[in-house]
Amino acid sequence: MEITFTVLLWAVRIAFLVLLYLFLVRAFAGLWREMRTEEAAPARPGGLAYLVVQRTHAGGPRSGERLSLRAVTSIGRDGGNDVVLNDEAASARHSLVSFSDGEWWIEDAGSTNGTVVNGTKIWQRERLHYGDEVAIGRIGLRLEQA
């Protein structure tokens, strides 16, 4: 009886340690999964903000379409851009929209026809506020909060 009790007690003690390690392994696994999903995150749709298509033409994006923005988003006609605009007046690499220090910024990426913000052609990196109108080629876009 006494011996059974001792053996049982030791079984409980060892089970405690095994369980502690089980918890640890699961916690590490959770951490690992988290880091993996983080690496895959940029490919996921849905971003910090949207450019909503205001003005377009046949062959271009649909009106009202929401183009989601990431920390750095390149816009242009070329298929390699994050946002591809099918518009003859847009350059292959037209503009760059970025998010830093809690603000949105836009710059022209050396386009032929230029980038226009609220009716003014920009010559350097400019702040972009929510609600601002951006014109790239013949397409009009508006920055909206996600």
Binding site: V12, R13, F16, F23, G46, L48
Partner: protein, 434 residues
């Protein structure tokens, strides 16, 4: 009010099931080993705690909290180990008291998840928080409410009923303030500092708080005789300065100032001398059964533990004085061995790593600094007390986060966990992820 949109948190729930089983097994082992007397406490404590854990989980689900699902189980696992150890080591009434503190900490967690509704309040009123922190810090020095316990004047109390260690709460206020302050002055980071030869001269917005913090740290060391808090406050500050600026020199400068202050204090003050002497030669004839008795007994406990430990409830940790607060790590390691001690440290590692990941991903500089500072509190405090137990550094009376007996510490650590989960929640919302 807050929109109720429940979000399932299955990963968290699965981990909590393991925590519950862990607590029950540990309790059974500890209680079955003590043949002395049976009472209702051993049944009440685990059941109440598991109920509390589930309640917190359900609260997060109902609140619609997204983001991290690891921190709450980790915090609760550590707290469960703390409860097991209190049951094992301390007088019975302390186990119930610790359980009460768990409930209060849980309530604090809920409140911190709900208020302030917008975390930017923390950065907007940063000087208010700083002022509150300083007031709390010096409150133990005030006659009437200040208490000196075990040689350190770091407690406030009303009558004999309620005692609180304000320096615990100050840590969080400090992190909030510095996150906001360094965020405000971050443009300094980009402009390279003026250099005096190879040495960068810190611009005034950095130099001023370095000096101020140094002064506060010295005051805490000299007047409140709290070496642990000194090390923590200054360490937190230096870590956040480094995270914000990436300038290693400031950290070296600050550390040098702290060491210089420490050397001066060693020359001038008895309580500092005593700590260092017991650390350097704990087995000294004169110290062995006097000031270094606790440390020596702790070292024996580590040795007794060996690789696999004496078995939970089977060691002799009660031979360490006040083992349930400062030496809980030594006691746990004696009974679960190197294997158990390592697992405990690994739990902290995961907690801190998770906190730092949250910091890296946070959408604004303020939230990044906030999360990094909070994670660093846990890391540094664990290092200081475990290092003190193991005679790696002089022993200072800080608590082992979540595990040590003590209410102020538990409440503070759950507030900290809540803030980290909130930052992660905000990040998940901004990114539109799960």
């Amino acid at each position: 009010m807050i929109r109720l949109r429940a979000v399932p948190r299955f990963a968290e729930l699965r981990l909590l099931v393991v925590v519950a089983a862990l607590l029950v097994l540990g309790y059974v082992a500890v209680v079955a080993s003590a043949v002395a007397s049976f009472s209702a406490t051993p049944v009440v404590v685990p059941i109440t705690f598991i109920g509390l854990a589930l309640a917190l989980h359900l609260f997060l689900v109902v609140r619609g909290t997204r983001g991290d699902q690891l921190l709450l189980p980790l915090a609760l696992a550590l707290t469960a180990i703390g409860l097991i150890e209190v049951q094992r080591l301390a007088p019975e009434r302390l186990a119930l008291q610790q359980l009460t503190w768990c409930a209060i900490a849980g309530a604090a967690f809920v409140v911190a998840m709900l208020f302030p509704r917008d975390l930017s309040v923390l950065s907007r009123y940063k000087y208010t928080w700083a002022l509150a922190g300083v007031a709390l810090l010096i409150s133990p020095l005030l006659p009437g409410i200040g208490r000196e316990i075990n040689g350190a004047r770091i407690w406030i109390g009303v009558g004999n009923l309620f005692q609180f260690q304000p320096s615990e709460a100050v840590k969080i206020l400090l992190v909030v303030f510095f996150a906001a302050y360094l965020d405000e002055h971050r443009e300094m980071i980009r402009s390279s500092p003026r250099r005096f030869g190879p040495i960068p001269v810190p611009p005034l917005p950095y130099l001023l708080p370095i000096l101020l913090m140094w002064g506060i740290a010295m005051i805490v060391m000299v007047f409140e005789k709290d070496l642990g808090a000194t090390l923590l406050f200054f360490g937190i500050f230096l870590a956040m300065l480094y995270v914000a600026t990436g300038e290693g020199f400031y950290t070296i400068l600050g550390a040098a100032m702290l060491i210089a202050g420490g050397v001066l204090a060693y020359q001038a003050f008895g309580h500092v001398q005593a700590r260092v002497d017991t650390w350097l030669a704990p087995f000294d004839e004169e110290l062995r059964f006097g000031p270094s008795f606790q440390l020596v007994q702790g070292l024996f406990a580590f040795a007794n533990g060996g690789l696999l430990g004496a078995g939970l409830g089977n060691g002799m940790p009660e031979r360490i004085p006040i083992v349930w607060s400062d030496f809980v790590f030594a006691a746990f390691t004696e009974e679960t061995g190197f294997v158990g001690g390592l697992a405990l440290l690994a739990l902290y590692l995961v907690f801190v790593f998770r906190g730092m990941l949250i910091a890296l991903r946070a959408p604004t500089t303020f939230l990044q600094l906030l999360a990094a500072g909070l994670a660093f509190i846990v890391a540094f405090q664990t290092l200081v007390i475990v290092g003190g137990n193991a005679k790696l550094i002089p022993l200072t009376g800080v608590t082992l986060p979540f595990v040590s007996y003590g209410g102020s510490s538990l409440v503070t650590n759950f507030l900290l966990t809540a803030l980290l989960i909130r930052v992660s929640d905000i990040t998940a919302r901004v990114r539109g992820g799960p």
